[in-house]
């Protein structure tokens, strides 16, 4: 009896193995393409962020969440590894000279996973649906209407020219099927229904905090994906996820390694992919509170911050220093004149002298009248590197005679306090003088964020945590957001960076390097997408 059972199991195992091994070369997507890339049966990509259902309304993180969602959904354009938009669902797109009408021509024969065609009506529907059910990532208030002269043409009519229109919405907004969503009234509650898109993968299984399973869309418009199945198990801690890659229980992971682990993950069948991350740490100063209301004081704080030392010590060299002009040095619109930070304690000291702060009682801390320069430096407690960096800042700033007490708080508390002393939009007033704050990679991918970050209006400067006010900056940021000509836009952006480097409402301190480990034997075509990560649908398609 037992022998029979064993034979049965072995038989089943053989059948299963036969089904799983699928090493057929990829079908030729078009004549003239000669390279054949072996198919990968299954790829295990550990996810440490606990994504929910991946519709545009329920998806969580920027990375990997957004890139999981865009395995299923397609956008009209898509960013290449350098962050430049290329046509995707759209064959081409162009604007009229005034920049008010964007004409988008779709590829022929695009279908959703259920076989229904994707047409300009779906594009129009997506925009209107999002205008009704807004998401922070896609604010479409500037789109007046979408015209659909034929099924393959969509014309976006804008209220005002929008310089970043290709970056977002075109290269960012997922097109949803009208026939599915038109009957959905509360999109935030689409928590279990598996999404239907037009992308290279279908989501075939989702179990909350357990697994997302994707199956290749064989009739994808850009050819059948190289990997047949992507399994994304949820692993709650990054340590366990890295261990899973090391021991072969996962092939890649969504989290970035800490620098000291890098050598360990570049041996024995393991490799890392990565580069200059765009997720950065910024020293925020509440410009509404004395003495931080004086630009000279903020400049002194920046001059006393030793970014290079922080990168060398806290990041073991695996990272980049921030630029006083706020824009990441690798971004195409970064101004070379405001790119490099300059640590200069003497300059910090003379700026503080100039403001009248002196250490009269010789306790190492400057004061003026009864105002002693001692403040709490807020930082969130779940990032060891950031806490270490805050301590280093406190040390070097202390040498200039300003005492900063590093105060580590839980992430939500730290985030809630790092707002100015007045409310912006739905955000209540905050409570801080100086804080370390990190922004996601997205804010460095689109220069229009420079307006949200520092515009003094509470409706436009929705991310103005510094409470910064400067009318000249406001005007320039309005101009750049409408400047359709790239060269003239970059000139305005360069000017804005000069103002920021001078006024210093927030000082970018450092950007940790992204280091993503993976197993070479499972899949070795990973490409790092500038500032973001390695999971990207374009990597999973055969080059054309």
């Amino acid at each position: 009896m037992r022998r029979k059972l064993i034979a049965l199991f072995m038989g089943l195992g053989l059948v299963a193995a036969a089904c799983a091994s699928d090493d057929k070369p990829i079908e030729q997507p078009a004549p003239g393409v000669t390279t054949t890339i072996p198919q990968v049966a299954t790829l295990r990509f550990a996810n440490t962020t606990g994504e929910k259902n991946i519709t545009p309304w329920t998806q969580g993180s920027g990375y990997p969440g957004y890139y999981m969602m865009t395995l299923v959904y397609d956008t009209l354009a898509w960013l290449d590894p350098d962050g430049k938009p290329q046509p995707w669902l759209a064959r081409e797109y162009s604007a009229d000279p005034a920049g008010l009408r964007w004409t988008v021509r779709l590829h022929e024969g695009v279908a959703f996973h259920d076989g229904r065609p994707l047409t300009s009506a779906d594009v129009k529907f997506t925009v209107e649906y999002l205008q009704k059910n807004a998401r922070p990532r896609w604010v479409l208030t500037n789109v007046d209407r979408v015209e659909t002269p034929d099924p393959l043409t969509a014309i976006f009519v804008l209220k005002q020219p929008q310089a970043s229109f290709v970056l977002n919405p075109l290269a960012d907004l997922p097109i949803i099927p009208q026939h599915v969503w038109s009957s959905i009234e509360r999109p935030l509650e689409q928590t279990t229904q598996l999404p239907i898109g037009s992308g290279p993968y279908r989501l075939v299984e989702y179990a909350e905090n357990q697994v997302h399973r994707f199956q290749a869309n064989e009739s994808y418009i850009k050819g059948r994906p190289i990997v047949n199945e992507i399994v994304m198990p949820y692993i709650a801690t990054t340590q366990a996820a890295f261990t899973a890659v090391q021991s072969g229980q996962a092939d890649a992971v969504s989290a970035s390694l800490t620098p000291e682990l890098k050598p360990q993950f570049n041996q024995g069948g393991l490799k890392t992919a990565g580069g200059a991350g765009y997720r950065g740490w910024y020293l925020y100063m509440n410009t509404g509170r004395p003495p931080f209301d004086k630009p000279e004081f903020r400049q002194a704080m920046a001059a006393a911050t030793n970014s290079a030392d922080i990168v060398a010590t806290a990041l073991l060299g695996a990272g980049a220093t921030g630029s006083p002009g706020f824009v990441h040095r690798a971004a195409p619109w970064s101004n070379p004149a405001t790119r490099d930070s300059r640590f200069d304690l003497n300059r910090a000291r003379s700026l503080l002298d100039g403001l009248g702060y002196r250490d009269t009682n010789n306790d190492g801390v400057r004061e003026m009248d009864s105002n002693r320069l001692e403040f709490d430096l807020l930082v969130r407690n779940n990032d060891a590197v950031a806490v270490r960096a805050a301590e280093l800042i406190s040390q070097s700033v202390g040498q200039a005679g300003v005492k900063l007490n590093v105060t580590a708080l839980d992430q939500t508390t730290a985030g809630a306090r790092t707002w100015p002393d007045y409310a912006i939009g739905a955000t209540p007033r905050g409570d801080y003088t100086i804080a370390m704050f990190s922004w996601a990679a997205a804010v460095q991918q689109d220069p229009d964020f420079l307006r949200s970050m520092f515009h003094s209006s509470t409706t436009l400067g929705t991310l103005n945590r510094a409470g910064y006010k400067n009318t000249q900056y406001d005007e320039l940021s309005d101009q750049q957001s409408k400047a359709v000509d790239e060269a003239s836009r970059n000139r305005i952006l360069a000017q804005m960076q000069e103002i920021l480097a001078r006024d210093m409402p927030a000082y970018p301190v450092f950007y940790p390097e992204d280091i993503f480990p993976y197993r070479v034997s499972a899949f070795d075509r990973w490409v790092y997408y500038q500032g973001v990560g390695i999971l990207n649908k374009a990597t999973l398609l055969a080059p054309r």
Binding site: R135, V139, I235
Partner: protein
């Protein structure tokens, strides 16, 4: 102690219930109110949780509408009233983050935590008591001294550290046990599924056992030591009983009272330890659910989840209260 007629015994149990139950109801009410107040005392609003990162970029009316939809626009007292009224109806509310009823989420997760904590409680108690019995019978010898040192060390070790060590040894290096999850991501059915669940249970349960067996051992050892010098143990020995029977038949039952108390008290402590252990092993229990809820200020989930945990712990204590007279004749009045 004379035998008590069955009728009077039942009467006593009822009287005991009449005293205890109102006390417990009061405890639950106070706990429910604390569950409401504590998350709201933390600074930070759940706006980003409700509407996504950078929620502030949304038009103000969208945000206001969303806050109104979940009742966060109401004064605290109104929110409190609604919450208590909901509890009275058995409605635990609706999670901000998951957009699903809290009761569904808790029902999905709680059985896993009960399995984990129950297994750990059972094994650590049996193991701790058995080891203590052997140690007492060999007290003063080298092995006894060594075991005290070992268990004191284990008891004072943080669970996440033991968990990580086990994870690296057994899951990563030896590859004999799964590294994460409650079940394999590849679906199994029937017996294979039971085996799969047990395999995934081994490391998290072992972590909890290792970190809690020390307490049981030290307590059981102390109470056994108090008993072994009693006359009836001497009598048992004098009767010529084997040492094992003396230990397990005569000494252990008498020493079991503080041990039984500690078992019930440890339910709460183990549930707390489970939060950490569940996270280390990505175990899909209520601990990880609560941890996530607190990160993003998911008020309803925090309130509801902690309330259910409160009910479980209070319930276990009530059962203990009622069982106590059975174990200890001295409190039967």
């Amino acid at each position: 102690m004379a035998d008590v007629p069955a009728g009077r015994r039942r009467h006593r149990v009822l009287r005991r219930l009449a005293v205890r139950v109102p006390q417990y109801v009061l405890i639950v009410l106070v706990a429910a109110s604390a569950n409401f107040a504590l998350p709201r005392l933390m600074p930070g609003e759940p706006v980003e949780l409700l509407l996504g990162e950078m929620a502030n970029r949304l038009p103000a009316e969208t945000v206001a509408q969303e806050l109104a939809d979940v009742g966060l626009d109401q004064p605290l007292l109104v929110q409190y009233g609604r919450y208590m009224a909901g509890l009275a109806r058995g409605d635990l509310g609706y999670s901000f983050r998951h957009r699903r009823p809290v009761s569904t989420l808790v029902a999905e997760r709680l059985p896993w935590t009960i399995l984990l904590v129950g297994t750990a409680l059972l094994i650590s108690t049996i193991l701790g008591v058995a080891l203590a019995a052997f140690a007492v019978w060999r007290r003063g010898r080298r092995r006894d001294t060594a075991s005290i040192a070992l268990f004191t060390f284990l008891e004072s070790t943080p669970p996440f550290w033991i968990g990580l060590l086990l994870l690296i040894w057994f899951a990563a290096n030896l590859k004999v046990l799964p590294l994460y999850g409650t079940v394999s991501v590849d679906a199994t059915t029937g017996l294979a599924r039971v085996g799969d669940i047990l395999l995934h249970l081994v490391l998290p349960a072992a972590t909890l056992v290792l970190t809690s067996v020390g307490a049981v051992f030290l307590l059981a050892r102390a109470s056994l030591l108090g008993v072994v010098r009693e006359d009836y143990v001497l009598v048992a020995r004098a009767k010529g009983l084997r040492e094992r029977s003396v230990a397990f038949r005569h000494a252990l039952p008498a020493a079991s009272l503080p041990i039984a108390t500690s078992v019930l008290l440890r339910v709460g402590a183990l549930a707390g330890g489970a939060v950490i252990v569940e996270r280390v092993f990505s175990y899909r229990g209520i601990g990880t659910l609560m941890l996530e809820a607190s990160f993003g200020r998911d008020f309803p989930l925090l309130q509801g989840g902690v309330f259910v945990l409160t009910l479980v712990v209070v319930g276990v204590n009530l059962v203990g209260d009622l069982l106590y007279p059975r174990l200890d004749p001295r409190v039967r009045r």
